[in-house]
Symmetry: C2
Subunit: 605 residues, 2 copies
Amino acid sequence: MRLHRLKRLFVGTPLPTAQQRHERLGKATALAVFASDALSSVAYATEEILLVLVLAGTVALSYSLPIAIAIAILIAIVVSSYRQTIRAYPQGGGAYIVSKDNLGTNAGLVAGAALLIDYVLTVAVSVAAGVAALTSAVPFLFRYRVPLCVLAVVGVAVANLRGLRESGQLVAAPTYLFIGSLSVLLVYGGAGALFNFIPEAPYQHHPPGLHGVGLFLILRAFSSGCTALTGVEAVSDGVPAFKPPEAQNARIVLTWLGAILITLFLGITVLAYDFGLVPRADETVVSQLARHVFGGGVFYYVIQAGTMLILLLAANTSFADFPRLSFFLARDRFIPRQFATQGDRLVFSNGIVILGGVATVLLIVFRGDTHALIPLYAVGVFLSFTLSQASMVRRWWRLREEGWWWRSWLNGLGAVVTGFVMLTIAATKFTDGAWIVVLLIPTLVAAFVVIHRHYEEVAQQLSLEGFEPPPPITNTVLVLVGDIHRGVVKAIQYAQTLSPNAKAVFVEIDPERTRRLEEKWGKWGMGVPLIVLSSPYRSLLGPLLEYIDNLQKDPHRMVTIVLPEFIPARWWQLGLHNQTALLIKGAMLFRKNVIVTDVPYHLTH
Amino acid sequence: MRLHRLKRLFVGTPLPTAQQRHERLGKATALAVFASDALSSVAYATEEILLVLVLAGTVALSYSLPIAIAIAILIAIVVSSYRQTIRAYPQGGGAYIVSKDNLGTNAGLVAGAALLIDYVLTVAVSVAAGVAALTSAVPFLFRYRVPLCVLAVVGVAVANLRGLRESGQLVAAPTYLFIGSLSVLLVYGGAGALFNFIPEAPYQHHPPGLHGVGLFLILRAFSSGCTALTGVEAVSDGVPAFKPPEAQNARIVLTWLGAILITLFLGITVLAYDFGLVPRADETVVSQLARHVFGGGVFYYVIQAGTMLILLLAANTSFADFPRLSFFLARDRFIPRQFATQGDRLVFSNGIVILGGVATVLLIVFRGDTHALIPLYAVGVFLSFTLSQASMVRRWWRLREEGWWWRSWLNGLGAVVTGFVMLTIAATKFTDGAWIVVLLIPTLVAAFVVIHRHYEEVAQQLSLEGFEPPPPITNTVLVLVGDIHRGVVKAIQYAQTLSPNAKAVFVEIDPERTRRLEEKWGKWGMGVPLIVLSSPYRSLLGPLLEYIDNLQKDPHRMVTIVLPEFIPARWWQLGLHNQTALLIKGAMLFRKNVIVTDVPYHLTH
């Protein structure tokens, strides 16, 4: 009961089913809602490129420009490709559903596994980067970054357990604050660099490490930068949330999103290079850039606040996406069915709790370090991109709608390019952590398959198809007594309501106790016969099991064991009583046709 | 079932009650049985004195001689005092029973708490010192001392769970090996020192630390040496095990024990000083002494083996003492009654498991370091000495038997001296760890009192004294259904054997499912009426509880909820099914007159 009250305090009072809301979003609000995940990645993508290049020394940083341009082209391809998905799946086309529809169940499961991992990492990476934005601005918090990360995850999870809806107004503010403040930074900083009223940063020499500039290093830097694409698919998942005409509005918003993403990402990369910024462990590149351009004034803090907020918002989107995908997987019987149950606040609580828990563990294990988490991140994302685009190709070929020829070419280009990128990421980041994901995806798929098979077998075993109504059964009711007191009297009385032929069974360990019990039985046994079983080994269970075995030689006989049990008034008193009931229930759990019934006697203090 | 087989493998097959053995011991065997605990402490007592004195530099080590003489006198006083206890309590006079008898329940509980702590520490200290004897002889094992300690505790605990009896022959060998080999060491070493055929050890200068030689340091060294007295009380606890005349034989054995103890302890202390030995972290003083005298030959290893064996034997005695004291405390209802139940090997398994578990934790926390454990040890021992002797004084005054006057003086001297020593130990070792025991003893006593009160209240609440046979009750049987399948059909059938008026209850969350269920109900409901409860908040429990509340407006009506539940064939499948049964049982646990009955349906794979 106390636990119950604690839950209410954090989670709130239950909501009736009729309160399900269906908010429809205008284009500007929709951009704010769906952009946070994708745009927030510009807070770390540039830095991740530089962190790889700097291994080959300060000189290698110049490669960031061509790499960023390649990634911008990749964004344009993926966005064009997903515009087609929106047209084809106006009811929402997540990679799991689209792949399952077009490439079959197994492809769907691979996409599902990749996405579940992706959502967990979105939370972990976004929170780590959001906390990094905070600790860049307030350096003394740097040593508390792990607890701050955990606090952020718990906060977002609790808000979602309460049934927080992404209301337009709430989300619009930080997203537009982020877009606006970064635009000012880029325009002012760009002008400063062009007209030389902002000087370069003092030259920070970074000696080359073990790495020279080779193809592998450049591919690794490119792989790191590809995190900029994470979240681009969000619009295509959420088409039904748009105001009509849904698909058309969604396509427009996705195009905007692509354009803004490319602008911000390229702008930050160019300026960071131009001002000669070098990545540092305790301050993000975006923070360095803002500090360099604005000199640490109020506007600097506005940018850091905007960055932190949009990253927390990005984490928050996973708390809607993960439980929704879990629901689909549970509905199709690939994961435990508990994920398909809505809690009393109309949210899929189990999904939220699991997501928050796993993300917290990741943040603790990786010490809240964005850079350490990144190698795990992009493999899953690009795998789902690839499957999703490949599914579209298959779909155009199957349906042959108008323009299917060039459309399948466009999606095919997307599939091939993202597929190559995925392989590049898996190869160049393998030893840094990508191997975890490469192993985890097939493991998850195998688990999905095993679970699915179990559910199908259970359904078959329970099916009434061809089932003959079973023959009538008899039921022998036994009260197990160890003593005679008020609790036992109540249990005998209860047994009598179940069957007029109820019997009491006593296992004799000490003959003296048997004698005392038999003395009192006349008065308190209420006419129920007492059967005494002897136990030379002091075991309660042995003689009882033997007796039951004897009864059950008749296969249509059920045996009901009535156990008097007292329930103490306080939890710590539970340990003070013999846990006989538990022992007997455990022993009977796998016996057919034996039912154990506790008759509780409630102690008052 | 698999767990069961594992238990049998380690613990053995059950023994019938008739196999209880009562071995009576002759004097020589009794000395071996009861001496191990007391004599084994000479393996570390001298070292503990030196470890304190060396803080004031090598020069201060000379104080070890007067300190050892003071402790020898203390031993003589305590032994004389306990000889009286034997006379007065020929049935066995442990401090708990003697204190409870003469000073009242509270004093008994204080003694009981002190003794429980004492037994745990006997195991921890003896095992740590035994492993130190081993690692002194085989230095490369030093780094594995913690796992070795854990292994030793587990080994002794398992042997005791199997019902190992301290058979005379088994115990006599290592005890007499220890006494014999140490005697040879002392005689040969003493002669060597006297006639100068064994040289002094090379002078090891140890600079004074922060401590000068002051009263406090000397008292601390004395306190450390008092661990030599631990275990002296064992003979008086075990008088009934002696051959008749029991009390007289026990008194003789106790006197022998005292004499041997004083001889070995003084001898080691004098020789260690004479040869100029200084305590070291990685080799015990006894090992250094033996190595010095015998130069590391075969006889050195005999001494180390004897030392290790007697220390393990000392640990083993606690595995008989702790469960026996627990039995007394549980019988008197001061600790959970589970401690009063004999397991199927005729031993008090719960006491053995708890003792082994706590000792293991201590050994891990204190890194298997004897010296770190010692400050916790002697407080409890001397508290029980004091209470035991004070009880005897009280007893002589009460009974005024022959010679009561001088006898009460002798016990009074013992009580005062051991009381002073206890306060000295508590004060000088307080910050080193004695504070733990000083806090723990009153905490345990408070727990005893609370538990006792609970049991008394339960007995009163369950008592049939003045209890009127309750009025007849009615029982409404409800089958809770969420669907219709073979498991539900079985549950309905079972409910019908309990009551001809059984009803089925369905909580409606989705009206579509209600319709489907009602369609099938005609064929499979077997005439049981179906009641549909609507649930606007999707809660299963809310509407059910409301319905039951309504039924229970009649206070003599019990409600039985029959729950169809399937039992998967494998444990991991348990997580794949809604734990509805658990939820409902939890909610009903504290409701009066509601009984929840699972009807298991066993899945085959």
